[in-house]
Amino acid sequence: MMITESKIFLPLRVAAQNINPLLMKHELSKKEKDELFEKEFLPHFDSLYNFATYLQSDEEVAKDLLQETYLRAYKFINYYEKGTNAKAWLIRILKNTFINEYRKKSKQPQRVEFEDTYQLVDDSEDEMQNVDLRQEVYKNLVGDEITKAVNSLPVDYRLIILLCDVEGFKYDEIAKIIDVPIGTVRSRLHRARNMLKEQLKDYAEKRGYHS
């Protein structure tokens, strides 16, 4: 029987689940694994916590998500390329854990439907129209209003704003973290920012500023 490529890669793909299946596996001792975990994974704890709480407003659930992320990261530590972008690697695991474990258990089915509706228009490159707001409008907004507006976005859009505008990842890095083509990163980010601007315009108008 011929062994096809997919048969070679499939077990690795299954084993690695959330990790790029094409990455090399490294044999590491327990001591090396623990060291890697301490030196490269744990320093990103606050960033991961920040992501987890933006994905899950319930603190306890966010803690579970964080714990599960670090457990998986350790479990698949053999596939991590030492000295590369550990934060991106961890966020990728966090995002996949969230989607696999938590989103399907979500108590808000309406919200998922809402997100899916947005995803349908996600890839359309045709509307590169900008929502324009005057600079003064932004400057008068407070952190709470902006955080609230970010939290009101569907999760995929929330995630891309955090990755690009808070963490400063480049488009190619974001594409790898969320498993979409670079063109989708661009259009999703564009749409996310426009949705944010609309939301922030509402807040500003309520406070008496005009766009």
């Binding site: 301490e38 744990l42 670090y70 457990l71 590169m128 324009d132 952190g143 902006i146 488009y171």
Partner: protein
């Protein structure tokens, strides 16, 4: 209308128009463009108040998001809890 051209290091750069700049604005703000394209946009921005205003507003928006999106730090004991649970299981 003839577009402006400049030659830098033997390379010809053609000024973009307002529409082309608008299409590239997001990539410019996110620093995702090659130097040649940035040069072509810059040539236009030097002559167009409307596009400069849009560019500055986009930059200001990105800056506001970076500065004002709340960044929370994990409660002190959480890191120890997670470290202990992971290394215990491992």
């Amino acid at each position: 209308m003839q577009k402006n051209e400049v030659i830098i290091h033997k390379q010809i750069f053609t000024e973009m128009d307002c529409n082309e700049v608008a299409q590239n604005l997001q990539l410019l703000v996110d620093d995702e463009l090659p130097d040649e394209t940035i040069q072509e946009i810059r040539m236009h921005l030097e002559n167009c108040g409307g596009c400069i205003e849009k560019f500055e507003a986009e930059m200001a928006f990105k800056e506001v998001l970076r500065e004002k999106i709340c960044k929370k730090c994990a409660p002190g004991a959480w890191l120890e809890d997670v470290r202990a649970s992971v290394l215990q299981v491992a």
